[in-house]
């Protein structure tokens, strides 16, 4: 596969790991702990575990898995609202597969479906719109979630619905934005992060500039990174170079996809349909200012929150969970009190155990291989 396989070459990987090892020693010198690099994005977490990159890195580097899994950080109350929507008899609730198993306080969409709600998995919001076209007698609600990467697609789908005059389609909007959340993490008092792997696909939409405060104000390096394993190794090397040279800049490793100014068409579609919410609730992180968007007044008829009455209850995260600490990088998943005991992928308590992209689920399923035990 073009643009994929060449970035998975194990021969190159070996060479880069040697370089990273040498550089990590220099960059970490004088520190009494390993260098903490946060990969903000769940896609990076996935690649890191999928290819066993974590185990390949030298001990001077510790990867911290960030909040970039939109499914994981969805608060229970919102899942409950979505289930309530799905249970309206006239509603066909359409969703990405990821959201099917996310537990609400009572049930997940999966359970709601089993109990008779019409819940359908789609690959694209445009498929949800097709369902609306096919069932004019039904109300088709699309469970819109994801960061800036996914926002243009739902925005464009709403614009398409408007153009065709389709009235039985709406979004239950749970889109979130990454910048305020990175800021919230940087503001946490117990912060121990030395640098960031920036989310490549969010950046292809928003560009490079929105990150500049991280370098200027917080003096941390961030390298926008692609999702193939060599992309990640190169990005780690770029962060280490900055650390060694005491630089803190926003750099772009993912030039084949990310342009510094982002994608104009995508941004204008977002701007047209969505507006920033004052606050949005994150599972594990609490309420974060300006971290979510909702459908603008002008498109109210495509907004499920305005179209239907939903319970809109706030459900507190389970007390035993330490997701917030894991998300901020102050606690490793396996050190959480409930990790692997009451909180497992089949019965997730906390946000990060919910999707395979979640840090805890990734730790749990891909496992921490005890290197002493392996006979190679």
């Amino acid at each position: 596969m073009k643009y994929v396989d060449e970035f998975r070459d194990p021969e190159q990987a070996r060479k880069w790991l040697e370089k990273i090892s040498a550089l990590a020693k220099l960059a970490q010198a004088g520190k009494d702990r390993p260098l903490h690099i946060m990969e903000v994005c769940g896609g990076h977490t996935h690649t890191i575990f999928r290819y066993g990159i974590k185990q390949m890195l030298p001990q001077e580097i510790e990867l911290v898995h960030g909040p970039g899994c939109p499914v994981c950080v969805l608060p229970m109350g919102r899942v409950d609202d979505c289930v309530a929507l799905a249970e309206h008899p006239e509603v066909i609730l359409t969703t990405f597969g990821d959201a099917m198993r996310v537990p609400g306080s009572q049930k997940s969409l999966h359970q709601a479906k089993a109990e008779g709600a019409d819940v359908r998995m789609v690959y694209s919001p445009t498929d949800a719109l097709s369902i609306a076209r096919k069932h004019p007698d039904k109300e088709v609600v699309f469970f819109a979630l994801g960061f800036e990467t996914t926002m243009p697609s739902t925005a464009l789908t709403v614009l398409q619905a408007e153009e065709e005059g389709i009235g039985n389609f709406s979004l239950f909007c749970n889109h979130i934005t990454i910048i305020p959340t990175i800021k919230a993490i940087l503001d946490s008092p117990d912060l121990q992060l030395d640098g960031f792997l920036g989310p490549g696909h969010v950046s292809m939409i928003i560009g490079q500039h929105p990150y500049s405060f991280i370098a200027k104000q917080y003096k941390k390096p961030l390298v926008i990174s692609g999702f193939e394993p060599l992309d990640i190794l190169q990005s780690i090397w770029m962060i280490l170079s900055q650390l060694k040279e005491h630089r803190h800049e926003i750099e772009n490793q993912y030039g084949r996809i990310v342009q510094s100014e982002g994608n104009h068409n995508a941004l204008s579609a977002i701007e047209k349909v969505f507006e920033v919410r004052e606050f949005f609730e994150w599972r594990g992180l609490g309420s974060i200012e300006h971290s979510g968007v909702r459908v603008r007044e002008g498109y109210a008829r495509y907004d499920a929150e305005r179209k239907f009455s939903i319970p809109n209850l706030k459900i507190a995260d389970p007390k035993s969970c330490q997701c917030g600490e894991v998300l901020r990088g102050t606690l490793k998943p396996k050190d959480c009190k409930v990790f692997g005991t009451t909180c497992k992928p089949e019965t997730p308590l906390g946000a990060l155990m919910v999707s395979t992209e979640g840090a805890c689920a990734a730790y749990y399923s891909y496992g921490q291989i005890d290197s002493n035990q392996i006979i190679s």
Binding site: K15, E18, P125, M204, L230, V258, N263, A269
Partner: protein, 95 residues
Amino acid sequence: MCLGIPGKIIEITSTENKLARVDVAGVKRQINIACIVDDDHPPESCVGDWVLVHVGFAMVRINEEEATRTLELLRKMGEMQDEIKAMQKSEEDNS
């Protein structure tokens, strides 16, 4: 977050609605190309373009030059490592 995969546009199915067919390793699907077209790049000009596909939308056109540049850099750095090692080795041999 945000699964995206490179694919090649093989056909424009609707210029008006900005729809195209994309090929990902032999798997085909209709996608929306609104994010990658403008006056300089009308839909008709998109056939043959490599794009990044996310949830049924072409999000960006892949920059071939940049991809090649990154790959060259990846390779060059790897080779440099060999040179460094060779240098270190020759120093050891000489001492």
